[in-house]
């Protein structure tokens, strides 16, 4: 078992014919994932990367029996693309587009509420189930099937931790990038709920950062004792200058979420193993797993 996707997941791509769409679809197909169709208004009836193209998600979903959609479209089109997939009742929508306006995401979340879809992103690296399915941009070269679930708000640091878990012989059950934007789909807490039900996942690494409420919500969930698997957490941005933004949307003011230190404390109190730095998180989890 895994979470969110597996070797049978049938993936369509919204925006497959663009530069990034072509690059990432091609990489995912070569990795062995089951990509079944592409969507691009006006390109219906053609083929791209050997797959049939459709004008709309609903046509593609019906013809190709799709379970998941990868959204790789320009920022101003991302909200409509996601909403189109929600309305077509696609089970898993992964949006890797960066710089989606926040008011567009308010609209997306409104439609997402109570729908049948799970949204990952935007500004996410997506989902990788090593050896089975890649939906997004998570690099595959250092990944290997294994027992650690990885959830993260940032991409490059995740690649680093993925490589470290492989090197430590632990491997990964699934890697989920929830994205770096303040308003996004799936969060740490929901990922933990999914990992809890996954017998192949023995422990989880959570990679968080300043701002937002994701780490606090994860801590609440871990603290109530239901999770039952070790969680090692790495929270970056402890020394970030107080009120300036670094890369990600980060924190705007005190009203929008905690400092990295506060997040470390709250996770520690909840029973997570909080790493001192990026080279400390894998040894921490390894110790807890007795591996």
């Amino acid at each position: 078992m895994t979470i969110l996707a597996d070797s049978k997941t049938r993936v369509i791509v919204q925006g497959m014919t663009g530069r990034a769409g072509t690059f990432y679809s091609d990489a995912a197909i070569r990795y062995g994932s089951k990509y079944v169709a592409g969507v691009r208004p006006g390109k219906g009836g053609r083929h791209h990367l050997g797959l049939p193209m459709f004008n709309s998600v609903s046509e593609a979903a019906e013809a190709a029996n799709a379970d998941a959609s990868l959204v790789v479209v320009p920022a101003y089109q991302a909200a409509s693309a996601i909403i189109e997939s929600i309305e077509a009742e696609i089970g898993l929508i992964v949006c890797i587009t960066e710089r989606v306006p926040i008011h567009d995401m308010v609209r997306v979340k409104h439609v997402l509420d109570g729908s049948r879809s799970e949204l990952v992103g935007p500004n996410s690296q997506g989902v990788l189930v090593p050896g089975q399915c890649k939906i997004g941009v998570v690099p595959t070269s250092a990944a290997q099937p294994g027992k650690v679930g990885i959830i993260s708000r940032s991409a490059s640091l995740t690649s680093e931790i993925v490589a470290q878990t492989s090197m430590a012989g632990l491997g990964q059950s699934a890697i989920v990038g929830i994205g770096g934007d303040p308003i996004h789909g799936i969060g740490f807490r929901r990922c933990l709920e999914l990992f809890r039900e996954d017998p192949d996942t023995e422990g989880v690494i959570l990679i968080g950062e300043i701002g937002g409420l994701e780490e606090e919500e994860a801590a609440e969930y871990i603290a109530d004792g239901q999770f039952g698997k070790p969680v090692a957490a790495l929270i970056v941005g402890r020394h970030a200058p107080d009120e300036r933004r670094m890369g990600h949307a980060g924190t705007l003011s005190v009203l929008e979420g905690g400092s990295a230190r506060a997040k470390c404390e709250i996770l520690e109190d909840a029973g997570a193993l909080v790493a001192r730095h990026a080279d400390d998180v894998v040894p921490r989890l390894r110790g807890a797993l007795g591996a």
Partner: protein, 392 residues
């Protein structure tokens, strides 16, 4: 994108929010003239910079006479104001806003944001505002109350009035405050703002609500389609180095240390930053090379870094991923070093996609680099070199 106070006030005033009614001055003489023309016994002189924290940093001062307004303006104009939000170099004050100082019976804090938990526009309010607000809100988060709005920002006037009545205001004053809060909510949606903040919204002795300060931050991701773009001269508060980086698809912040940092990704950037400081070093910058950035773009930013005299060592920490592969960064280092006479030592650590190809480029181009396998070892060495340690 942060609007200046006078721009923010203009935008909400034209929709019906009451403001004290000041004017802009770029010379001390003009400040004096404006004060003379205002029928007020007291004036406030406010530095117009695109950052908050002005009050606590001495960027807002009161004058009792037009002459004093002139003197205060003379002190502020041309100075660099350093606040908790500007970074160490501060921002140049080239305009001041001169307003009548109003008597307040009460002060409220109100703001409109998108709440992250509900993903809905939300009205925030607190019983007292002012320049100590952030501090007191941090110490006592319960003082800030929230009213969750519909996804399209809709809320009825009576609902807002009921919400605001819990802050010790009533009658006409509460009605007026609610009317103005509702206008801010509309502006928040129409201008795709991340934040509209009125701090403070005062209640005058004659029971009117007046926005004494206003802050608007526009979502930078929405700026190209923003209706304000044609009318407002949107100020760009970025430092030249940060602008150069942005134009080359690199997220970048100038800091005040001596370790130049080249990193891809915000998370890895923050992790590297934390590690340097934990080791007692000082980063000269924060860098996050975006996934689609090419080597020529990265080279421009690296060249700008190595030519800064206060930087003693370059720490390169790359994890090659889907699109930013290690050799892209190695090529960038090569371009930058071949264009500059300054051969700063490079402490180098690259892993992931194309790491070995990148290493051959570094060796082949004879760059002055010392290589490490782990982040920790590389950071420790960079801090040592920056301190004037062995090998410098």
């Amino acid at each position: 994108m942060y609007l200046l106070e006078h721009q923010a006030k203009e935008l909400i005033a034209e929709r019906g929010v009451s403001v004290p009614g000041g004017r802009l001055a770029d010379t001390p003489g003009k400040a004096e003239d404006i004060a003379k023309s205002l029928s007020s016994e007291k004036f406030v002189i406010k530095s117009q910079i695109a950052a908050g924290g002005r009050g606590l940093a001495g960027g807002v001062k009161f004058a009792s006479t037009p002459r004093e307004a002139r003197n205060l303006a003379a002190e502020m104009l041309g100075s660099r104001l350093v606040t908790s939000q500007t970074g160490p170099e501060g921002e140049l004050v080239d305009q001041v806003f001169v307003e009548p100082a109003l008597l307040a019976e009460r002060e409220l804090y109100i703001a409109v944001v998108v709440d992250q938990r509900s993903a809905r526009p939300t009205l925030l309010a607190a019983r007292s505002g002012g320049n100590q607000f952030e501090k007191s809100a941090r110490e006592n988060p319960d003082m800030v109350k929230t009213l969750t709005l519909d996804s399209d920002g809709g809320a009825s006037a009576s609902e807002i009035e009921r919400f605001l009545s819990q802050f010790g205001i009533g009658g006409e004053a509460c009605e007026d405050a609610a009317r103005q809060a509702r206008i801010c909510i509309g502006a928040f949606r129409d201008y795709e703002a991340l934040l509209i903040e009125i701090n403070p919204l005062i209640i005058t002795p004659d029971q009117r609500a007046v926005a004494v300060d206003a802050k608007i931050i526009i979502d930078a991701n929405a700026v190209p389609r923003n209706p304000l773009l044609d009318r407002l001269d949107l100020v760009d508060s970025m430092k030249p180095e940060e602008r150069l980086a942005r134009d080359n698809d690199v997220n970048f912040l100038m800091l005040d240390g001596n370790i130049g940092v080249v990193v891809n990704g915000a998370g890895l950037g923050l992790a590297t930053h934390d590690m340097i400081i934990d080791h007692g070093g000082k980063p000269a910058n924060f860098m996050d090379i975006r996934t689609t950035t090419g080597s020529f773009q990265i080279a421009k930013v690296v060249q700008m870094l190595i030519e800064r005299r206060n930087i003693d060592v370059l720490l390169v920490n790359i994890h090659g991923g889907g699109m930013t592969v290690c050799d892209t960064v190695a090529e960038a280092l090569n371009f930058a070093y071949s264009r500059s006479s300054r051969k700063l030592p490079i402490i180098y650590r690259a892993a992931g996609q194309n790491a070995s190809w990148a290493r051959s480029i570094m060796k082949d181009r004879a760059l002055p680099f010392e290589e490490f396998d782990s982040m920790l070892a590389a950071v420790a060495r960079a801090v040592e070199v920056a301190r004037g340690g062995i090998g410098k």
